[in-house]
């Protein structure tokens, strides 16, 4: 659970690790958009190669990526099945009621599978090589232009970083409450799914009250340390754009070019 909530950052010193988090965040977004340029086996092939290349650059073993993909496996199987069963066109291999398995259905489902898995793969690369706090920083930094339309970017990034900071604290509280209730005979792992969900409710209420208390304490502590809404404050953690971050741009330019050329075949 802890890993799931906190992202899966794995310490490393590869080129991808060292990249500016903004470059990685933008890259991931760009990739997700570029995928829609792909329309045939050639272009999807390029997408897959690009993803594998990016993964290779992180110097992180394939096993870890597999762990990142595995939770999404059911979603992928479900989508692919739907595609196969309900898309029609081209040669029909099997027809049974409203269900048809057709040539287009199979091709489409393969494309969808590639799309989904490469998107998950790319975002895993982002979260595996970037600590969550830096992703939040990058996000806030990219939102900065919104200041012009009076969007409270600084407050927003403060909220994000506090939320991230308190994930482990809340997990700890939750564990304490669970243990306290286990000591009095509650069980969280027995019974069917409904029973299990029900057993979580008595845990949620103390957790909620506890978080309120933490929030009040934190607000007092922040005020005592002179945090003022809307006042200018300096930023200790600064993101710095390096020359190597520009290479990401080249890689993506090459990818876009290849996709545009190959989609005509």
């Amino acid at each position: 659970m802890d890993r799931f909530l906190l992202g899966q950052y794995i310490y490393g010193n590869s080129y991808v690790h060292r990249l500016d988090p903004r470059a990685k965040l933008l890259g991931t977004f760009a990739f997700i958009i570029l995928i829609f340029l792909a329309n045939n086996f050639w272009t999807y092939g390029v997408i897959v190669l690009f993803t594998l290349f990016a993964a290779y650059m992180t110097k992180i073993s394939a096993k870890i990526y597999w762990q990142g993909l595995r939770p999404m496996l059911w979603l992928m199987i479900f989508t692919v099945t739907l595609q196969i069963l309900f898309t029609s066109g081209g040669d029909i291999y099997l027809k049974w009621g409203i269900i048809t398995i057709s040539q287009y259905g199979i091709i489409n489902s393969i494309f969808i599978l590639v799309r989904l898995s490469t998107i998950i793969f790319m975002s895993t690369i982002l979260t595996i090589t970037t600590p969550p706090m830096l992703i939040a920083d990058a996000f806030a930094s990219l939102l900065k232009p919104l200041k012009k339309v009076k969007f409270p970017v600084d407050q927003f990034s403060m909220i994000c970083s506090i939320a991230l900071r308190f994930v482990p604290t809340l997990m700890e509280t939750a564990t304490k409450i669970m243990n306290a209730q286990r000591a009095r005979g509650a069980s969280f792992n027995d019974g069917n799914i409904i029973k299990r969900i029900k057993s979580i409710i008595p845990m949620l209420i103390p957790l909620l009250i506890n978080s309120m208390k933490i929030a009040i304490d934190l607000a007092e502590s922040m005020t005592a340390r002179n945090y003022q809404l809307g006042e200018p404050r300096t930023q200790f953690r600064r993101l710095r754009w390096h020359k190597t971050d520009l290479y990401v741009l080249y890689y993506f330019a090459i990818l876009t070019l290849l996709l545009i050329v190959l989609r005509r075949f």
């Binding site: 991230l164 340390r225 200790f236």
Partner: protein, 282 residues
């Protein structure tokens, strides 16, 4: 006569859900650059006093309350100025951590004061060295012990170069070892920086180490003076709902066995000293 850094007059505060005021016409002076301990049993109004002294709560509007800190008379718009030279360490080390790592947390107070990032970097290094936590700089708070967390909190406050540091029951959630570390840090701070330390506590051992003690009971200041003056009368301390320091507990027992330990002995080392003399006389 020494200068006062904090002057409180007629301070009255009533919680909205209570009829009785928690603090009643409290008057209090705190001497500049002293270590003052504010002592009192649970519910004596200590924590309320801290919140009033830091502007986290406002005194009753119908009272004639006056608070003057570091020469500035407190009013709603002045609190941010006053707090610029003020640092507070709260009771629960977990809930006062704002930053995701030790260095981020120390930077928080400095960022709020709009201090240049290069200067922040310098100060983080300085204060972490001071509290002996440099190796934990990149750590997350959840990976630290209670005593370590409070040391980081103190470092975060030292970084703003305060004139007054208030410790609100800062050691009450710590184990004895953590508590001693904090006491030691306070002593080192007193030696190195020109600051006034106010420690609000019900730990009488902590109070014996202070220069000055204020005893609160039922929302009023009942006694103020040096530890030797304030803590001399065992019966009175018990009446106030306070524990006796260990050395005094022992002295009470010894008196029952006809060893007349002087009443102004407050800590173990003084007691040992007394025993040495006692033996040599015999």
């Amino acid at each position: 006569m020494s200068e006062n850094i904090i002057e409180v007059r007629n301070l009255t505060y009533t919680y909205s859900q209570n009829n009785q005021p928690t603090l009643k016409n409290l008057n209090l002076d705190i001497i500049k650059e002293s270590w003052t301990s504010i002592l009192g049993h649970n519910g004596s109004g200590k924590s309320t006093l801290v919140r009033l002294l830091t502007g986290l709560k406002e005194p009753d509007s119908n009272s004639q309350a006056q608070i003057k800190i570091n020469g500035i008379a407190a009013s709603e718009e002045k609190w941010f100025d006053i707090r610029n030279d003020l640092g507070i360490v709260f009771q629960n080390p977990d809930n006062q951590f704002v930053g995701a790592t030790v260095e981020d947390d120390i930077a928080f107070g400095l960022e709020n004061r709009n201090i240049d990032p290069d200067e922040i970097e310098k100060r983080i290094k300085e204060v972490l060295d001071f509290v002996n936590m440099s190796e934990f700089r990149k750590m997350e708070p959840s990976k630290l012990s209670g005593g370590q967390k409070q040391r980081v909190a103190i470092a975060g406050i030292l970084a703003i170069r305060p004139k007054v540091i208030i410790l609100d029951e800062a050691t009450s959630m710590l184990d004895p070892q953590g508590r001693n570390q904090i006491h030691q840090v306070i002593q080192e701070i007193k030696a190195k920086y020109q600051v006034t330390v106010i420690s609000v506590t019900h730990d009488i051992e902590e109070a014996t180490k202070a220069d000055d003690i204020c005893v609160l009971s039922d929302g009023q200041l009942v006694k103020q003076g040096t530890p030797k003056e304030v803590l001399i009368d065992e019966n009175w301390l018990t009446e106030m709902g306070l524990m006796l320091p260990f050395a005094k507990q022992l002295a009470v027992e010894l008196r029952q066995h006809a060893i007349d330990v002087p009443r102004d002995i407050l800590d173990e080392s003084e007691l040992v000293e007394y025993f040495w003399k006692l033996n040599s006389k015999m």
